[in-house]
């Protein structure tokens, strides 16, 4: 039976929702007179879902038909689920109409593999061409590259998209072999490498790329994961790594059997650690080590680092350098800038920090202002930890994110 368009939307949005990359930030502004759409440098959230995620893109699959059978994936061939496919024309029309109504910033297009890799990529490409050439749409488009596609098709997609990605999904080859037997890390990274090189031919900046890792479906520890991310950042291959707490959607003997709740806290800690890699100049082995390969669940990684390195503290707010300020738990990038600016005019005390709207709830244990230390516990790592973890009422951390870009707030440590 033919499905109506509403049902298709239901199916294909539902199938795409486990992909967490979402933000459209960081792309150049490129509007043109007489055309439709522009990208915006900081990402704009158009709404938030009932689970608190920012919606900024129309994130759908072109189709959820798939010839493969990856164990963690809801769209795997062996699953008995409703299937549907958009035509390129349908999808382009919906995108344009959503954009005009200001529902979205653009399109995030991914797909199951229908028939074969190249055929699927061609359908995606056709959608892009209608949007760019026919509707003169300059808004944001993110395309999930399909590993194993012909390089020439990748070239065409790279020329039309603002960002591309290819999900690594699992942090090691061994796990991939187990859960996604037709994939290897090599094969997954191939389109990304090709896209980087291709986009560098025409431009000094490579096209923005990202990937996603599933957390908790396989036995890798946080050190394995952060090491992988940090290598990918260093090679300038990727702009973002997204972490997605494993949500069981299938029964498979190779998957962890009973997971009551997705490991959200672990996901949250990984995002915090990732943030330290990208914006605070931490290296991964400062955050995790042979001895402690996993992030502390009780403390954010910056606080945890500080408690292991108490000799750098307490820092005098009025004296230490910018780099040092950045390492103070509880003081984020913006806080550091505020302090640096205000310091030029006077030497700051705790009252001044309050006025600058810098919360010292956490920082108080690690700083002095004009030589004064104001925390009411003795300066040693056990007591500080105690004081941070156990303020009278027990706090449950509510990880609010998949998308940290939106919230400079949640990400800052």
């Amino acid at each position: 039976m033919r499905k109506d368009i509403y049902e298709k939307m239901q199916i294909l949005a539902n199938s795409a929702k486990y992909d967490v990359s979402c933000s459209s930030s960081g792309s150049e502004n490129n509007h043109k007179t007489g055309e439709l759409g522009a990208t915006h440098n900081s990402s704009i959230c158009h709404t938030f879902t009932a689970d608190g995620r920012c919606v900024s893109l129309l994130k759908v699959l072109l189709t959820n038909f798939c010839i493969y059978d990856c164990a963690y994936c809801i769209n795997r061939k062996s699953n008995d689920i409703k299937r549907a496919a958009f035509s390129p024309r349908e999808l382009a029309d919906i995108t344009i109409n959503f954009y005009k109504r200001n529902y979205i910033e653009g399109l995030f297009l991914s797909s199951g593999i229908i028939d074969n890799e190249d055929h699927t990529m061609v359908l995606i490409l056709r959608t892009l061409k209608i949007l760019r050439y026919e509707y003169h749409f300059n808004g944001y488009i993110h395309v999930k590259l399909i590993p194993g596609t012909d390089d020439r098709l990748i070239d065409e997609v790279v020329a039309l998209a603002n960002r591309v990605s290819s999900n690594i999904e699992l942090p090691s080859d061994k796990s991939l072999k187990l859960l996604a037997p037709n994939k290897t890390k090599e094969k997954i990274l191939q389109p990304l490498k090709h896209a980087r090189d291709k986009s560098l031919e025409n431009d000094t900046k490579p096209i923005g790329m990202s990937t996603q890792l599933i957390i908790g479906a396989t036995p890798e520890n946080d050190k394995d994961i952060l090491k992988l991310s940090s290598v990918l950042y260093d090679k300038a291959l990727l702009k973002r790594v997204y972490y997605s707490a494993y949500i069981p959607v299938n029964d498979d003997r190779n998957l962890p059997a009973i997971v009551n709740k997705p490991p959200l806290l672990r996901e949250h800690r990984l995002y915090q650690a990732d943030w330290l890699l990208r914006f605070y100049d931490f290296s991964y082995d400062e955050i995790v080590s042979e001895e402690f390969p996993n992030l502390d669940e009780e403390l954010d990684p910056k606080t945890s680092w500080a408690l292991h390195n108490l000799s750098y503290f307490p820092m005098e707010i009025n004296k230490v350098s910018k780099d040092e300020l950045l390492r103070i738990p509880g003081i984020g990038v913006r806080g550091v800038f505020k302090i640096l600016k205000a310091r030029k005019f006077k030497s700051l005390d705790f009252e001044d920090l309050k006025k600058l709207k810098i919360s010292i709830k956490r920082a108080q244990y690690f700083i002095t202002c004009k030589g004064k230390y104001c925390a009411k516990v003795s300066f040693c790592s056990d007591t500080i930890k105690q004081a941070i973890i156990e303020p009278p009422k027990k706090r449950v951390i509510q990880p609010s994110l998949f998308d940290i870009d939106y919230s400079a707030i949640t990400g800052e440590l």
């Binding site: 949005a13 007489g34 522009a38 005009k100 200001n102 003169h136 949500i247 005019f345 609010s400």
Partner: protein
Amino acid sequence: MILIYDKTFEGFLTLVYDVYYEKLKPNSIFKQKPNKLILEEIKQIQTNEIKATKVLEAIKNKFSKKAFQTILNIFMCDNDDFEVDLLNFIIIGFKDKNELFNINNSSIFYIQNLEKQLFRANHKMSGFLRFEELEDNTLYAKLESRFNLCYFLGKHFYKRLNNQNYIIHDINRKLAFIKDGTSIKVENIASFEEPNLSEDEEKFKRLWNSFFEAVSIESRKNEKLQRDLVPLLYRTYMTEFEN
């Protein structure tokens, strides 16, 4: 002393002029005569174009582009009580423009904060505003906000909807940003009738709602968080939160 001006930008610039040359020391600045009896001296500012132009030129010359923009932004955002602080801001800037970064001064701190709040509200609204397509394909959005965002949003969408006609209607202030062909203007809207929607409008609303429901992950549901992120006051015109 209390100063009263006529709410216009010219009026405010005139006020700056008079404060300067008549060495006035206002404690408060009102947009109209207060009703209750006040013992303080009250002075009504007579808006004067020549004085206003002089001050405007002086500000343009003396202030950085960014600080000038701040002054305009604060004025346009239409908050209740910005006048005394904006006046101080301008006076400080004339004395020493480096001081404009000294957030230890309460007026400067206030102005900077207000501008930030304005930007934040504007940023949120630029995502949460919803257009509906009218019969003649014009896109029409209703707006309610603490700040006067009409102009800021109008500008934002000028880039995005460059080949479209659109209207952003501030319901409470009875203002609208109107883009029609190549012309753009902000106009007073005294009265208006609910316009007719295009044939497709229902379809895309339904598709959007269908999408919105489908992307939420049941096992991560957290409505309190959702309420923090999209406060109820923003939801009035958001399709996906209707009913």
